[in-house]
Symmetry: C2
Subunit: 188 residues, 2 copies
């Protein structure tokens, strides 16, 4: 590489080991953050039908059961000849009703550990990563895109949990609102 | 409380125990997430002068040393008669040059544990929380607003770390970009 060529640090090529490293860490990250936090932090939301950190945990568990590995298997077995089943974005309001955050964290850790084990047992190489699948709304996708989305989806919900909690202090921070992008919503 | 009165779940009143619970958890959250992650995740950024997860860790350590507890002490000692010292938002590029993520995580955990101990030792009650201080740019603030901002600032940087990492996969996720708020930047 020429020394005058700047390195692009804004994009990363998908690799299975790097993706798996992040996926495997999400349960213990959420555990360190949320277990035994005072209840109010865990049930706050952003108004209306928006989700609390507790709701997000249920959504993540439901994804382990019905979304990521099942869709990867669908691609490996059927390619793009059979679309994915639709994902239910509201299952957590039925399935995990009444479960507390400690139980949800335990269940997410179990489910994610199973998923990571299954992922590592699947016959995936560079060629199968390009295998096409069919999303019921988005259309053609690849196994690589599905697995990259799994990682980004974890991080999207980490953002959401932090945002929901930070915005509980929208009024409390007073004039500092202007400096806190998470509260002001300003893009950097 | 009337059963017809909806509970506001979008705002939380500042209390010292709830704030401290979150502040105390940030180091172990970041540790569970970032220690031993593949290097590329930790050095990526959002282009230009934007920060990597590694840069954010340095910034958080610098805040422990020069921002939060020193400013709380300034308010308790001088009220609004002596403005805070300005915070150097770029100190991490000098002070922590060459330190790896494991060393930064260790140092942040030490520094934050010290801060939390000092916070709990400060003579703070409901009346002192309303004590005024003077921010060099924002003007009049209170001790309560400073401490609430400390919490929200942690969460703001959790958002930033997750966003920087997720956006590394902007291209890799393909059509799923549209569904991932952390990548699309769309407000919910």
């Amino acid at each position: 590489m020429s020394s005058t060529q700047p390195v692009n640090r804004t994009r990363r090529t998908f690799t299975l080991p790097e993706a798996t490293a992040l996926l495997a860490r999400t349960p213990k990250t959420l555990d360190a953050w949320l277990r035994d936090l005072p209840e109010g932090w865990l049930t706050g939301n952003e108004g209306g039908e928006s989700w609390s950190p507790t709701d997000v945990l249920g959504h993540l568990i439901h994804g382990e059961r019905t979304d990521w590995i099942p869709r990867a298997r669908r691609i490996l077995e059927f390619g793009n000849t059979k679309a994915f089943d639709k994902f239910d974005r509201f299952a957590q309001f039925r399935e995990f009703q009444g479960l507390g955050v400690p139980e949800l964290l335990d269940e997410f850790a179990r489910a994610r550990a199973d998923s990571v084990r299954e992922l590592q047992a699947l016959p995936i190489d560079e060629a199968t990563l390009d295998k096409p699948g069919l999303h019921p709304e988005l259309g053609p996708v690849t196994l690589r895109q599905l697995l990259a989305t799994w990682v980004a989806h974890d991080l999207d919900h980490v953002v959401q949990i932090a945002r929901v909690m930070a915005r509980q202090y929208t009024d409390a921070v007073g004039p500092w609102q202007a400096y806190l992008r998470v509260i002001s919503g300003k893009q950097g």
